[in-house]
Amino acid sequence: MIQKEFVLMNRLGLHIRPAAQFTKIAAKFKADVYLIRDGMRVNAKSIMGVMMLAAGYGAKLEMECIGEDEEQLCAELTELIENKFHEE
């Protein structure tokens, strides 16, 4: 399992379109991925789950990737987050 912490720096936070980008990548992998915010843990392959975190700009999140291709999954999602969901 890989664990990672990050702060959302895209203006919209994990709103519907960024959340869709996130879950689209997650869906390509066998590994499971979870997002945790303030004790709430959701399956990050679900757009409804991701939005349930109501994570806006500046929100602190933990990500857990579990499964055989977890490294690649974690890398791709990290890239997306660090590039601010290509919002600008």
């Binding site: 203006r11 919209l12 936070g13 709103h15 519907i16 379109r17 869709a20 879950t23 869906a27 399956n43 392959k45 679900s46 757009i47 409804m48 789950g49 939005m51 349930m52 109501a54 806006g56 700009y57 919002e87 600008e88």
Partner: protein, 599 residues
């Protein structure tokens, strides 16, 4: 609205008449019976299935998913055709929710494991998600609960084999009452049967209000708890002019409102023949009578009501109906469409007026102690050059049609105006380099809505092509009364002599510089104000399109010489009450049949 199906007697002899006040969202008076549209509650009882039925049940789920997908896509097309990209995006979000793979997996695995009918499982899973979403902080996240509900209801209808219909569709003309109308409900309204819309929630720019105006259905929103007070079949009176709702009307109330309805109807038809006539006073002075719009398709309504230009195109909706900043191309498409509809008549696009009460996720506005005195409108634009430049480029590209003008909101003095014009010049130079056609002589206007801008109006007028007085904000800032704050509502006086003097001095300053001046706030749509504004020398009145015919009627009735006399007399009074009483008397003696006297 013509005759309603309500008999002379109230619906229930025992029920007392109840009057509620909401926000008038679309004009007209309707009398009818309530059709209560309560979103379906997840009341599906768990139904056990045999292990052998699991496979068929999952196939039923897959089929319903496909049918729902097709239905949402149809709504999306319909929305794009009727209301444009902004509303279409709502259905994009619905598709994303429907396609949630974890949702599909949860449903499949629970049906297999627990052996319950798929309807119950769908309801349970989505109901849980909705509840979680409803309790989120952040308006935009909470709104998604309504989207999930809309998707869930459609999916359940397909699972039940009912197809894509609103359940209990009315069979006779009714007034639709709902907590809030879902995008699907409002888009699939049969306007032959729906005589009015009333919603517990919502404001002037809510989805319900926008759709009602575009379909010309009287509507009142923001009614609080109307849905808990009425049942389907109750008699109801809806006044979209005043925002009043009367449930269980007494027979004398019904008689009174039938009379009002008739007079309103008669008056409206009497205005029909004014449509193609100019707004000219009997002594030959022409006022440019234009419409204010929020969505591009409303430009058609301006023309249909006899307006010959758009004096205020509020561009904020591009932000408010979505969660991402609109791209330059998308904006261009929107502005160009409106410009095409209006051509050759002018289309004045106001740059984004965000902030204040119009917050948005994509701008990340901080909580402010005094948002109306804070970070809004041009201040946001000047600090977010990326957004501002994209908007200016989009407006400039649309200006190649030759009828587009640009207007900056919330200018306090020359600093912001010069800075905004500099960004505009940069955008023009860019387009020049890229050889993208645009209007090199595009007219640039300034909103006069801050007292400091009134004081500086002479200098401002020298540096732009026109002024436009935004009375809503001007009054609010002149008398220092937040117009959304009920406690100080009595201080917000449209006819405050201080405000009238500010309008007068702005007009004088503009005319001295040889520039025209417009009114584009609520005051422009207030018939009482029309003779006063004309008398003060206002060149253009821009107001909501539905009031245009009435304003035109007033202009065509009152000679400029009379209006001037009225204005100078009004300026001699010392209080708002005196001015209001004077203007009322003047108008009433000349135009006894105006709807304002009886709605």
């Amino acid at each position: 609205m013509k005759n309603s199906p309500v008999a002379a007697m109230p619906s229930k002899a025992t029920a007392a008449e109840v009057m509620l006040r909401g926000i008038p969202a679309s004009p007209g008076i309707s009398i009818g019976r309530v059709h209560l549209l309560i979103p379906e509650k997840p009341t599906i009882a768990p139904r056990k299935i045999a292990p052998s039925e699991v496979k068929a049940e999952l196939e039923r789920f897959a089929k319903a998913l496909a049918e729902t997908r097709a239905a949402i896509e149809r709504s999306r097309e319909r929305a794009l055709a009727i209301a444009g990209i902004a509303v279409g995006k709502i259905f994009d979000a619905h598709l994303m929710i429907l396609e949630d793979s974890v949702f599909h997996e949860q449903v499949s695995s629970r049906v297999s494991r627990e052996q319950f009918a798929v309807d119950f499982i769908v309801c349970d899973v989505l109901g849980h998600n909705m509840e979680m979403m409803q309790h989120q902080s952040g308006e935009l996240f909470r709104e998604r609960a309504a989207d999930i509900r809309d998707v869930r209801n459609r999916l359940l209808r397909f699972l039940r084999g009912e197809g894509d219909v609103v359940p209990e569709k009315p069979t006779e003309p009714v007034i639709l009452v709902a907590p809030d109308l879902s995008p699907t409900d409002t888009l699939h309204i049969d306007r032959q049967l729906i005589r009015g819309l009333a919603a517990d929630t919502g404001g002037l720019t809510s989805h319900t209000a926008i759709v009602a105006r575009s379909l010309d259905i009287p509507a009142v929103v923001g009614l609080g708890n109307l849905t808990s007070l009425v049942r389907s079949g109750d008699a109801i009176v809806l006044n979209g002019n005043s925002g009043k709702i009367i449930v269980h009307p007494r027979s004398d109330t019904l008689t009174e409102y039938r009379a009002k309805q008739d007079r309103f109807q008669t008056f409206l038809s009497s205005l029909e023949n004014l449509k193609d006539l100019p707004a000219v006073t009997p002594d030959g002075h022409e006022i440019h009578l234009w419409g204010n719009i929020e969505l591009p398709f409303e430009a058609e309504s301006v023309l249909a009501h006899g307006g010959r230009g758009v004096g205020l195109f509020r561009s904020e909706f591009l932000f408010l109906t979505r969660d991402t900043a609109p791209s330059e191309d998308e904006q261009f498409d929107t502005y160009d469409k409106a410009a095409e509809v209006m051509a050759p008549h002018p289309l004045v696009i106001r740059t984004f007026d965000l902030g204040g009460d119009k917050l948005h996720g994509s701008i990340n506005l901080r909580q402010e102690r005094n948002p109306f005195l804070g970070y809004r409108a041009i201040r946001v634009s000047l600090s977010r050059r990326d957004l501002f430049r994209a908007q200016l480029r989009a407006i400039l590209r649309a200006s190649s049609r030759g009828n587009v003008r640009i207007m900056f909101p919330f200018i306090s003095g020359l600093e912001e105006l010069r800075e905004a014009k500099a960004v505009l010049a940069e955008a023009m130079a860019e387009l020049e380099r890229e050889r993208i056609p645009h209007d090199h002589q595009i007219k640039v206007g300034t909103m006069i809505e801050l007292p400091s801008a009134v004081a500086m109006a002479d200098r401002i007028a020298e540096e732009c092509d026109f002024l436009s007085i935004g009375t809503n904000d001007l009054i609010q800032y002149a008398v220092a009364a937040d117009r959304g704050n009920e406690i100080v509502a009595s201080y917000y006086r449209s006819f405050h002599p201080g405000v009238i003097r500010m309008i007068q001095s702005t007009v004088k300053a503009a005319h001295k510089a040889g520039k025209p001046v417009a009114i584009c706030g609520e005051l422009g749509g207030n018939l009482l104000a029309t003779p006063l504004l004309v008398g003060l020398g206002i060149d253009e009145i821009s107001t909501s399109s539905t009031v245009i015919p009435e304003i035109k009627k007033v202009i065509r009735t009152m000679p400029l010489s009379d209006c001037r006399r009225i204005a100078s007399r009004a300026l001699r009074y010392s209080t708002a009450a005196e001015i209001t009483a004077y203007l009322t008397k003047q108008l009433k003696t000349r135009l006894a049949d105006l709807p304002i006297w009886f709605t």
